[in-house]
Symmetry: C2
Subunit: 257 residues, 2 copies
Amino acid sequence: MKAEHKELMKARRRNIRLTLAYDGTAYHGFQRQTPPVVVVQNILEEKLELVFGDTIELSASGRTDAGVHAHGQVVNFFTDGTIPIDRVCRALNSILPDDIVVTEAAEADRDFSALHSAKRKTYIYRIITGEVPCPFERNTAWYIRRRLDIDAMRRALSLLIGTHDYSAFRAAGGAPMSPVRTMDRADIEKEGRIITMTFRSDGFLYHMVRNIVGTVVDVGLGVKTPERFGEIIASLDRQQASATAPACGLYLENVEY
Amino acid sequence: MKAEHKELMKARRRNIRLTLAYDGTAYHGFQRQTPPVVVVQNILEEKLELVFGDTIELSASGRTDAGVHAHGQVVNFFTDGTIPIDRVCRALNSILPDDIVVTEAAEADRDFSALHSAKRKTYIYRIITGEVPCPFERNTAWYIRRRLDIDAMRRALSLLIGTHDYSAFRAAGGAPMSPVRTMDRADIEKEGRIITMTFRSDGFLYHMVRNIVGTVVDVGLGVKTPERFGEIIASLDRQQASATAPACGLYLENVEY
């Protein structure tokens, strides 16, 4: 039945790929759930049906959790709708809520899947420091009052680069997948009050970035050393790592195919 | 009666000056109104009363309209409360909503008035451009899709500098005050997708910045020339200027005393 339905969808003429930016503050994550829980996917599918005149079932590069943002989430779906591709962005943005924006729309090859074709993803995590919080960053960065040692954090992050078993940063509850991933970017920069960490990998485990950030912040606070951070990676034990960092600082930056 | 009440307030031992940042999106402006309309002043006074254990009536450098933001609004109030000044920021920020932040607290001279002692104010106005809007700037900048001619806007803005009668940009409904003001800064810069205009003057008329911005944007769009902008200033006629720019792009940047 499910396979049959999939074939039905694939019999449609067009495979459309969209890139999305959204402020996740108001949403219980990306992935479809039973209403009344408000998720990005439900709202997007509803508007896509208006624009394409078809029942739409989209597939995303992955889910994002409640309160997590995106600069470059990617989705695809099959449709027989006839709207020209260069009108799709404006048509959708005129009816989507202001906190969800379609930044690109393109015709994709028939075998393109936002989920299965993804080769690499980049996440960023933003922290705002300083004596007092900033009202404009309350939902878009993690506020930390105490001073952070950026050099120590950089040394810790560098230990993540390469192919590792990242079980120490894996939360219970994600989709089953191998905990061995290859990360080729894990760096940090500070500009004014804003600290930005960037992570790029062929895949991320459930809560992996937020668990890494929580632990790296403990290094920045002097609670843990960079050497201890290396031991935590090697331990493969979630109990050794620190608490999960808040969702509001996390952004799915882009997906490479 | 009112004067008597004022004396009563002035008999109190301390005059406290606070600097505030707030995201005005959720508020019907700064100034006290009858509930249930939510304004910044009501919320702030309620929290000040908790921290200072006094009935508080604050005075601000000026009101901001619904949806307008502040990086550096200044208020003062008289109190007999005994909390040490260096604990005021944290005490208030721990009980204020996240979109209002006290950034500085200081003991002021007895004759300091946030309203009457103000010598100069700076406002900034932010515009975001580009093919698609940005979900993270939906309440904090005016989104304009079409290309703006920054050089033409800069030439128009330069005509504002000096001492002028700004009646062409004055809306009905403000407090009565002379329309003659001295502006010593009116400039524009662009960084990536963000255009920022900065205005500094010894005083601003009701809706003055937003009316200026609306008209300068018409210059940027090529609807009006910089020369025409000069004629509009000289006309002293609000009907000659363009529509008021949206509140969401405007910030009270700071107040000088």
